[in-house]
Amino acid sequence: METADPGGRSRRTMTLEAFADTIVPGEKRFPGDRTVAGAAPGPGAVEAGALELLETPATGVTDGLDGYCEALDEHATAYAEQHGLKPDDSVPPFVALDFEDRTAIVRWLTSPGHPEKDLWVLLALFCNMAFDTGAHLHTTEAIAAGHPGLATMGFSSPDDDGLWRFPDFSYRRELAPRHPNTTSTGSPA
């Protein structure tokens, strides 16, 4: 099952990383990184912890990850054949594709009408959440550790007690005329 991945990753990990990297792409982590395509600057979903989140049983997808990888292998193999792409047996079929081809497959799998759409949307949602929220970590710890997704979004740090408060929150001035048909209690008439 193991391949010649310089990172020593299993086929399952490589395939899921390539999928997560298609959702929120990142820069390559090391020379010869095959799973992360390097399609965007900065860390992406993989470095944000997509695999850790997918491997968290609370998601409900963990038991199905082998099935996801097999299906992705099949879709990628069929896609490569249809498009006359040269096989590369050194890595799993989805990993062998370049970023544009991975994107085309994900777009197809998550399009309305695709019979497997719900499954792939679910997987994509968790890859997104790994980057946008770091849902496998306490948010305070994620921020302290420089979680790449929260950092990319500029998510601010909490107070010392781990709670957020924004005493400065308002322009504090009237910025639009009130609707003429407003009742005395502030509702539409």
């Binding site: 298609t22 959702i23 929120v24 792409p25 965007a40 992406g44 989140l53 609370a58 409900g60 997808v61 994107t103 777009r107 998550t110 719900d118 949307v121 679910l122 994509a124 997104n128 959440m129 980057f131 946008d132 929220t133 770091g134 849902a135 496998h136 970590l137 306490h138 948010t139 305070t140 994620a142 929260l150 990319t152 979004m153 500029g154 998510f155 909490p158 709670l163 957020w164 408060r165 924004f166 005493p167 929150f169 308002s170 322009y171 001035r173 009237e174 910025l175 639009a176 005329p177 009130r178 609707h179 003429p180 048909n181 407003t182 009742t183 209690t185 502030g186 509702s187 539409p188 008439a189």
Partner: protein, 561 residues
Amino acid sequence: MTNHPNNASEGRTAERTDVLVIGSGFGGAIAAYHLAAGGADVTVLERGPWVASDEFEHDFLLGSSYTRIFDFVVGEGMSVLGGNCVGGGSVVYFAAMPRAPRFVFERRGNIGRRMWPSSIDRDRLDPWYDRVAEALPIIKQDWNDVTYSGGVFAAACAHAGLTANPAPAAIDRALCTNCNWMMSGCRFDAKRSLLLNYLPAAVAHGATIRPLHEVQHLSRNADGGYRVHYNVIDEEDYRVTVGSGAIDAKLVVVAAGAGATPVILRRSEPALGPMPYAVGRYFSGNGERLNTAVFDEEKVRTVLGLDRGEAAYAASQIGKGPCVASWDRLDPALPEYSRFTLEQLYFPPGFGTILAQVPGADGRTTWFGPEKKELLRHWQSWLTIFTMSEDDNEGVFGAPPPTGNATRISQQMLGRGTLRYEPSINTMRGWAESDAAVKDIMERDGLARVLPWTNDLVGAYTVHPLASCRIGDDPSTSALDDRHELRGHPGIFVTDGSAVPGALTVNPAFTLAALAERAMPGIVAAARERGVEVTYGAPSPEGETSARRAALPLVRDLVRD
């Protein structure tokens, strides 16, 4: 007195109560309070956990409070976000509390005639709105309460020649820290959820609330009462059932939410007999639609003249839910389906980022990939704009799942339901008109770039499910009479969002709560007829009486002849 064993029916041991309330959101909490205060034995079964204020966490970790108290049920063409805890939607809501505009009560929708009962219009609902306003309470916000995001929205509306109002809200401004974690439950007790008024008052009057009790179905007892069958849900993994039981009641109030009430009733058909046609039909998503605007900070400064020191705006994370609404399109002269509220809104990352779109490398819009990631770099300059329009009550529920209202996927929060929703041409026209209005306002003079959220992934989406078991005068298109009693099943009342006839063009919590208050005199009278010693007339949960006095003249007409 309460909940003693009874072996009278079906050969199983059941407990007994006077009134069984299913769900503890607005519909359930208001019923539980009035009935308990009036002297009835009341038991509330709530499928979600009972979470205290100091357990509400500022945390995106799976298993923290936001996944414990929220439900996200994906249907076919429509996904529903709702509360899943003691206090229901009030614990996760943004507490925006406008009254529904007058024209809403005259809507005809897809049935070609007035869909509200003839006994209800805005004037006749106002005294019941007043009762809720006193109980929560609701405040009129001013510009000092308006967050940066509300302010930039208001300024953009004004720049486009429109009006914008600070929205009324059930928020204690002295306690609010503008942390923007409202959807995880309010840590600071600033959000006036039901955990702070109706529910503690109900408990003080002897009501029992049982969390993690998910009602599955009802059956009828020989004495004309009902047996309510429930499962007990594991406190961490909601996919796991750890027990089951039944409670007998003389009267049942179903308030499980518009995504669950019709499911429970339909699952009860083998025991109770056929349900009215409208149970599980006419579901409305309140015509909801979301757009994301990404502001050009320099334009915010130069065109709108806004500045907060370190930035012109860049304050997406700061604040609370919707503070400002634009009601220019709530014009009764406009045709039905062309009327909508635009409201500034905040969704936290995850909920608020995944469905946002961006032009992809090939020019097609996309919700993933490098361009989307680039958009996230500007997240603090995002503004979510929320449309509440008039849909066509298109939603229909399929056969009930084995338990609950959805097949749960994750331990918490995420499930797959049976709701089907195919938006009509009318609904889509309203969405298109609101998208165009948002684009016109926000892109004027290069202020922002705007794209609607995609409906391709999880269908349309609503945080305000309505109308799946609605009141009305016409038995063929309404499941409940105008006193909220289920047609053909005396002694079963429905008081949650499912009873609201259709989309309201505003946030609906206040209206469904007012309807629940209005239903109480009739429900109390029905309970008395069924042998429950109970009276109507409780003051506000905190003891105020002015709204009660004002509503008193209406009570007689709400009691069955």
